[in-house]
């Protein structure tokens, strides 16, 4: 045994479950690291040693994985993580202005944490897969799309009230209100033009923001006309 026991029973159970899903225990490294991050909000060194022991690996093998992937945090960060995509498709529709607005509003540069520890934010070049609904940002586990500075302000205000993902991982997450100019979205896409939508019944799509909730499955929304930024 190395270090102190830091993993909660629920985290250990999640790792055991993951281990049983794969033909080889090593495949459970990524799910195990997710489970650890859900408990702590980052990956403490001692926890990595415990993961290694649970999966029959040496700590270095687990650390090698933990440091390769950009979504694993090896040090504590703010309570909420914000990533603004500034890759080409988002940049063409005003992502730089959104990033500049966030910097002003949060009072710290990309890659840093606000003084009160609420937010860590970064302008990321990694495309997040919301190019048709740009500009966008990801806050914790949710995408927010077709952003304007006003929408960003409303989202920040709302998210600041919510617990950090690791604080809420054992309890149902609070539903974001629609006050933030249309809540988190998921592939909220206009796939037909308004003209052809008028000819046939408009295609609706699930809002798909909170799987697991029956309300979310029932709730669906008509496609909105495109709301361009800038």
């Amino acid at each position: 045994m190395t270090g102190t026991v830091v993993l909660q029973a629920t985290t250990r159970a999640a790792i055991e479950r993951a281990r049983s899903r794969y033909p080889h225990p090593r495949s459970a490294v990524l799910p195990a690291l997710w489970a650890v991050q859900e408990q702590f909000g980052y990956l403490p060194g001692e926890a990595l040693s415990e993961v290694a022991e649970l999966l029959g690996l040496v700590p270095g093998e687990v650390e090698a994985v933990a440091t390769f992937y950009s979504m694993y945090f090896t040090r504590p960060l703010g309570r909420h993580q914000i990533a603004v995509c500034v890759n080409v498709a988002c940049a063409l529709r005003g992502a730089d202005e959104i990033a500049a607005h966030l910097e002003r509003r949060l009072g710290c540069p990309s890659g840093s944490t606000t003084a009160d520890g609420s937010f860590t934010w970064q302008a990321t070049i990694e495309c997040l897969g919301a190019c048709g609904y740009a500009p966008m940002m990801q806050v914790d586990h949710y995408f927010y799309e077709r952003l304007t500075p006003e929408k960003v302000d409303a989202i920040l205000e709302q998210v600041a009230q919510q617990p950090a993902p690791w604080e809420s991982s054992r309890a149902p997450e609070p539903a974001p209100s629609s006050a933030a100019g249309g809540g988190p979205t998921s592939a909220d896409s206009p796939t037909v033009s308004p003209a052809s939508a008028a000819e046939s019944a408009p295609r609706q799509r699930p809002r798909a923001t909170r799987p697991g909730s029956a309300a979310a499955a029932r709730r669906s929304r008509r496609r909105r006309p495109d709301t361009r930024s800038t």
Binding site: S70, A95, C131, A187
Partner: protein
């Protein structure tokens, strides 16, 4: 012409992401028919007959890929590539969000054809909601006997495991995906041996894209010959085109292969926004070479676009209007590849670093003509000299843009700032 809705035909039906609604619109009939009417080998032949080509970027014929599996080596694995991270691409997320059971059904049909007992869906870490949705749908399907032991009373058994990535573009490359799934850093493997021979855990493995597999229920129900009649001779079926950038109506549009690119832009996307003119576009996502307005009359056909010097790649069109700075676009794409290079091989790891530094200085108007002239040399030391295509593709857009807009690149040299954009916003600088 209107969209040709095959994969998206039911999207818009309230509650489609739930099993009862999916069944009501004919869902899982494809799986039922596959088990009833085909042996696994006949199913592989049917998919070959359809002419279906992979929708993840390389466009390799799916049935042919399947037929590379050595006979009598078991277990075999199927990996669904849902690690969509190509800049400009968001169709797989759309398909999962809007019609997750179609993907699960397609996965099961492929698993039956390949005689696979465990299929993995490798989904990128950022798609957290989509992962939860898929897990919920798989549980739903398991309870109805579509997933698990003796599916629909047959001898076919298959389980589906959703594996969540953690933020690495490189894991979309099939061998890096396998390493990541095995619990390693996601770095590409040397090929050959190809995954079909030695893949996951050293066993025969097929890696297919989300959209590719979503086609299968339709191929089973309507026949490979019918599918081959849609689209062009060598690019069959439809594709979901991800459209973004300076257009009036960005989004996902499903069009038959072979339609002109102009139709996609002008009819479906509503043309270039703000009444401006088109300057350039990328037809296949961030990796692909730039095309110009004169290419708008090309058909949406993989081979035709390849002949024009680019590629339909993952089906992601990024349109840029006349105000766009091509050096800025190049700089962003190269910074992306620099960020995402896994570091395994030197030409890519060092090359993207040099490229990014040069383009940052160029965009800021600080680079000299002599520095700009090293760009082609840097790219030449990368293209074709890397372990996997990431290092190659980190040069393709830049070099094609440099050739097509050489005056614009040259105008940046020593200009003190970007001649088109002025000084860029500091906040958007990526560390």
């Amino acid at each position: 012409m209107a969209e040709y809705r095959l994969l998206t035909k039911d999207i818009g039906t309230e509650g489609l992401e739930t099993l009862p609604v999916y069944e009501r619109v004919g869902g899982y009939q494809g799986l039922r028919e596959a088990l009833r009417r085909f042996t696994p080998d006949e199913l592989v032949e049917e998919v070959k007959r359809s002419g279906l080509r992979g929708r993840g970027g390389a466009g390799f014929p799916t049935g042919q890929k399947w037929s590379f599996l050595p006979k009598d080596v078991f277990p075999r694995y199927l990996c669904v590539n849902a690690d969509e991270s190509e800049p400009g691409c968001f169709k797989d997320r759309y398909l999962i969000d809007c019609n997750p059971h179609q993907l699960i059904e397609g996965t099961l049909i492929a698993a039956y054809a390949l005689q696979v007992r465990t299929a993995f869906i490798y989904i990128r870490g950022e798609y957290h909601q989509q992962r939860l949705l898929l897990e919920r749908c798989i549980d739903e399907a398991r309870r109805r006997g579509y997933v698990g032991e003796s599916i629909l009373g047959s001898e076919f058994s298959c389980d589906i495991v959703v594996h969540r990535g953690a933020g690495a573009y490189i894991c979309g490359e099939e061998t890096a995906l396998l390493d990541s799934l095995e619990g390693y850093r996601g770095q590409p493997r040397l090929k050959p041996p190809f995954p079909a021979v030695r893949g996951l855990y050293g066993k025969p493995t097929v890696v297919n894209n989300v959209e590719t597999l979503s086609n299968l229920p339709h191929i089973v129900l309507r026949g490979g010959t019918w599918f081959a009649s849609v689209g062009t001779e060598r690019s069959t079926g439809t594709r979901l085109w991800c459209c973004s950038g300076h257009i009036e109506r960005p989004g996902v549009y499903e069009l038959e292969l072979g339609r002109p690119i102009r139709e996609l832009l002008e009819e479906h996307c509503g043309g270039v926004w703000k009444g401006r003119r088109l300057k350039a576009f990328q037809p296949g996502g961030g990796s692909m070479q730039v095309l110009l307005p004169e290419h708008l009359d090309l058909p949406l056909d993989m081979d035709e676009v390849a002949r024009a010097g680019s590629s339909l790649g993952a089906g992601a069109f990024v349109f840029m209007d006349e105000t766009t700075c091509m050096v800025d676009v190049s700089r962003r794409l190269v910074e992306f590849y620099h960020h995402e290079s896994c570091g395994k091989c030197v030409p890519c790891r060092e090359g993207t670093y040099f490229e990014a530094n040069l383009l940052r200085r160029l965009e800021a108007g600080q680079a000299t003509r002599a520095e700009l002239e090293t760009l082609a040399d840097i790219c030449d030391n990368m293209n074709g000299k890397c372990f996997c295509p990431l290092g190659d593709t980190a040069t393709w857009f830049v070099m094609s843009a440099y050739r097509a807009f050489s005056d614009e690149f040259a105008a940046h040299c020593g200009a003190g700032s970007c001649p088109l954009r002025g000084a860029p916003l500091a906040a958007a600088r990526v560390a």
